[in-house]
Symmetry: D3
Subunit: 113 residues, 6 copies
């Protein structure tokens, strides 16, 4: 219905299609991309917040959406997510603001679920 | 109705939401972002054109939309705006072209209001 | 109907509008942008694949769409296009993935035409 | 003597020069940039690691150097720093590798002090 | 002797080498790049300031150096240049700061000539 | 002696250091980064040229240096390399020029070996 659901279903459908039709290196990268946020020297919660900051300064809405969902799933509070976004805002500048808006909209939608 | 109206209402609604729920540093950055385009050694008109060029080379459609609206409000002509976009095109290359298209569409919509 | 058709008609309409209302330097750049993918020391097929990789690492969906269409028109197979996207994925990282998804969706739509 | 010392002295000298000759908004931004890594909902250590990841995906050697120094000062271990750099590597791709090399060189130099 | 002289001599030598050995499209782009900052609807001074802002948000030290030299040559004061850099700082965020430092160093060197 | 030798020895030394001290995901990514340019649906020569174009539009001098060396090793002529750089120039704009200069300097140094 909302942006959240569109994002989830498109992501799932196309990731499946990439894995089906992509080459072996693409599959290895997707596997690596999954592994990198698992608990290690840093816990998964911290890494997902890092993924959110990286996505925000690189200004990728889908990546921001994905990591906000993961941040919630790994136990970050709204205050922690807002603070991570604020770090991204100062590092990345006003060009981050439109993505900040969409991040907060998605966060609101996610909390309303 | 058009892209212009969608942009304006979403921007207003979510900026309000960020100010309400964001932390003090976020609020300070938003205030700074407002102050930076005011008259100083350079006038507001020149600074808004600079904001447009920066937004175009960084390829942020919402930022481009915002600065085109502000360029019109501070007295830039269509010819001046097109020349600013042209500077961005040469600095930023063909990757700027899709944003140039949407900028001209918005400029047309703005002039038709 | 689909994303492909929307892209094509918007691109054609707004390029026309830019050429009509843009300045002489903008027109010269558009002409240069057309010339650069023609056969030379490297053939057009290779250059379109290069354009695709450049567009993917710079994360511009419209540029990716354009070069996928051109790659097909200059004889690249789906396997070659997927391999080019894979190079972009490793160079550009996971931030490229959302664009990879939309590229594969468009490739599917293009092959269904 | 090494890169670390060059970085520190140049940074100190030119920040002073910017504060002396810059305008009020520049000073306000520098103050905000200092405040953003302080303890809040997230602690300073986590925020410095976020600053490191953001700097690495944006590929800014001086910013990486600064945040590695701060990560050490706020108690991050080498393993935690290497894991943060690894998150940046997967998000940002192989284009991050040259910066990864210089980051590890600086980390070695910092640990040898 | 200083960074300014190194930049000027390397730039002149290698531009010559590119023009000698590059293809016709490269030469056409270099010609276009020269033309774009000439007086038009906007004057050359304003366009060089725009080139500076674009270079700063894209974080290219050589481009910043070039446009600072051109800004001085087309009559911008230090205050105007500092204000242009400040616009870039707010748009581009703290990641711009290392380039701001080198810009001010070069500006100091240029004024000491 | 020249930039080429500095690049090669630093690259070798620090890659070794990253592999020694980095985590398992970092090693897997380095392995993937090596595999991606091997012959497949596209040959290695074409993929190295793509790597060069990607590096040039992302403006990474070390990556450009690496791929120019690899382009020579996989049989690309100077004309083909210059044409690949030209594609990057038109896609990426004048911001690519400083990297183009250093690329041609390195190409000259490489051919003089």
């Amino acid at each position: 219905m909302g942006r959240l659901e569109d994002f989830r279903s498109f992501r799932e459908r196309m990731n499946k299609r990439i894995i089906e039709t992509g080459n072996i290196d693409t599959k290895r990268f997707f596997s690596l991309d999954g592994a990198v946020y698992e608990d290690g020297a840093l816990d998964s919660k911290t890494k997902e917040l890092m993924g959110l900051v990286a996505s925000a300064v690189l200004r990728c809405d889908d990546c921001i959406a994905y990591h906000i969902i993961q941040c919630k799933a790994t136990g970050s509070s709204r205050e922690e997510i807002m603070e991570a976004l604020n770090v991204a805002l100062i590092v990345g500048g006003s060009i981050v603001i439109p993505h900040f808006r969409r991040a907060v909209e998605l966060l609101d939608e996610l909390e309303a679920e």
